[in-house]
């Protein structure tokens, strides 16, 4: 019974509300529901299984952010949205690889999703820069920054795990780390 439920396609509203409520199973079901469709698109247009995974996950992220931002309209179908985003991303990937032969074998209807892709790309560039900056930052700064700003750990906890004698020292260290991170981030082209 539970298996059957899992394999059946969830309704669009189930997914949207599930994601808004941070439901782990909603993402899981969403992921399982449309992966074959995207796999079909990529595999049959000179892509590999790994390409399919990359493209699909990117599309899920686009959808996730759109839903989280609250501007996903239920009037458009999730399936069409995912397919369109994947199609667009794959076309871009193909042309980057100079392998785009001019026509794509389509399996579904699709709609224009240029705005979403545009936003996603801008954001992606920022994230790549951030990733690069964090990498260059090195330890222990990277962990301190991640713990404080991303994982929401308190200064007290950080102070203990790094063995700083008092919170002020840790704060000073964190301040220096942040300044360096900003510098690295804005230096990147």
């Amino acid at each position: 019974m539970s298996k059957e439920l899992k394999s059946s396609t969830p309704t669009d509203s189930e997914i949207v509300f599930g994601i808004l409520n941070n439901s782990e199973s909603a993402i899981k079901r969403l992921y399982a529901a449309y992966f074959p469709m995207v796999m079909q698109l990529i595999i049959n247009n000179s892509g590999t299984e790994d390409d399919a995974k990359d493209i699909y996950q990117e599309a899920i992220i686009v959808l996730y952010n759109k839903i989280k931002k609250g501007d996903f309209e239920l009037s458009s179908k999730l399936k069409t949205f995912i397919y369109s985003v994947c199609r667009r991303l794959w076309l871009k990937r193909l042309s980057q690889m100079n392998r785009y032969g001019g026509d794509l074998k389509d399996f579904q209807d699709y709609s224009p999703v240029d705005d979403e892709i545009e936003q996603h790309n801008e954001r992606d560039i920022q994230f790549t820069k951030m990733q690069g900056a964090l990498q260059l930052l090195g330890e222990p700064c990277k962990t301190i920054i991640e713990d404080f700003y991303i994982n929401n750990r308190s200064m007290q906890e950080i102070c203990e795990s790094f063995g700083y004698t008092n919170a002020d020292n840790a704060k000073t260290q964190k301040y220096k780390c942040l300044q360096r991170l900003k510098k690295l981030f804005f230096q990147q082209k």
Partner: protein, 368 residues
């Protein structure tokens, strides 16, 4: 205020860790000091980006974890469109296949071309006789001699040689003669010569190039008319294997040949022709094809050069149609076709004797 302290304050402000008074004071400071205000905004944006980055990394990890649980290979196998083996073969090898195909086409066309299959004319020849070159040069020689003589003797007549020869046969006693269009197609002038060697000037009265039929009319003033035509034109189609014969001028003296109707269709199934086994040669074109009772069943026309005994004759019904199609204004009156066959009871030799006065050598004079 030192930078580090300022940052601390900003963070406490952004994280809502200030009490109401402190908050009010800071907001006032922010309003007054644009520098601090921009620092607040910048910090807010940067930490926001950092946070989002963290969320993104986390989401990616989650998705990767979900992906691990999926049987990717099974799905890939399931959704791959497997084109049929022939399409796969084409996709993998189309360049080689194309090259092979073009070579094959070239080879076939080349073979056909060199064996002469493509040129129709090489297997099918119309049987007018081109008077041969040796003969011609001989005559030219004679002519120049005559030319030289004529300077001394103006009464000598200059003769130009005829270029093509064919055969024709009378269809009315008034001097209408049927022959092939291809015999007279290049003609400047046409003469017909009877069995006793007398030539008469004739003109082309009517022709149907498509059916390869021409009707000549003897216009020569010395022509006194023929006796009653001994044969009739057969309207119905002859049967397969019917005994037929022809009589004509493939050379200077008349030649008889007989055979049978071997097919009721001509070259490539052309229904206006018979295929016959009567031996014919250049010069026979336009000659009559008769059956045993002395009815004209066709006009000898052509042969296939690559096959022995494949010859063609136009059906007499086509000739009858052509006679009916002669425009009325080119004749004084409608051609009076003979309806009484006087050959039917005779033996073949007797038939030929009667026939010979009505079969003519057609001599065609042309410039080139």
């Amino acid at each position: 205020m030192r930078d580090e302290q300022l940052l601390d304050v900003i963070e406490r402000y952004l994280n809502s860790e200030m009490n109401a008074d402190e908050r009010k004071a800071f907001e006032l400071l922010r309003k007054e000091n644009a520098d601090i205000d921009s620092r607040v905004i910048e910090h807010q944006q940067f930490t926001g980006l950092l946070k989002q980055y963290g969320e993104r990394v986390e989401l990616e990890n989650r998705l990767n974890a979900i992906h691990q649980e999926i049987d990717v290979h099974a799905i890939a196998e399931e959704v791959t469109v497997h084109p049929s083996w022939i399409i796969q073969l084409w996709r993998n090898h189309h360049s080689k296949i194309s090259v092979a195909a073009s070579i094959a086409i070239f080879a076939v066309l080349g073979t056909l071309f060199f064996t002469g299959y493509l040129s129709n004319s090489s297997t099918y020849t119309e049987l007018r006789r081109k008077v041969d070159i040796l003969n011609r040069s001989n005559i030219n020689l004679t002519k120049s001699i005559t030319d030289i003589r004529s300077r001394n003797n103006t009464s000598a007549r200059i003769t130009t040689p005829d270029k093509y020869r064919g055969t024709g046969f009378a269809i009315t006693s008034g001097g209408l003669i049927a022959t092939n269009y291809h015999v007279i197609s290049d003609a400047d002038s046409v003469y017909v010569q009877n069995a006793s060697g007398k030539s008469f000037k004739a003109k082309v009265l009517y022709y149907e190039a498509k059916n390869d039929i021409a009707i000549l009319k003897i216009t020569d003033t010395s022509f006194k008319g023929l006796g009653a035509i001994p044969y009739t034109l057969k309207r119905s189609e002859s049967d397969l294997a019917e005994n037929v014969y022809t009589y004509g001028y493939p050379q200077d003296s008349p030649v008889y040949g007989d055979g049978r109707v071997t097919s009721s269709n001509g070259l490539n199934g052309d229904s206006i022709d018979y295929q016959i086994s009567v031996p014919i040669n250049p010069g026979n074109s336009g000659g009559p094809l008769l059956d045993g009772k002395g009815n004209i069943v066709g006009i000898v026309k052509a042969k296939q050069t690559q096959l022995e005994g494949v010859h063609f004759a136009i059906k007499s019904s086509v000739l009858l149609n052509a006679i009916e199609n002669i425009p009325a204004d080119s004749l004084n009156r409608k051609p009076n076709l003979n309806t009484k066959n006087t050959l039917s009871g005779l033996t073949r030799t007797q038939q030929i004797k009667k026939l010979q006065n009505y079969v003519f050598m057609v001599k065609v004079y042309a410039k080139n």
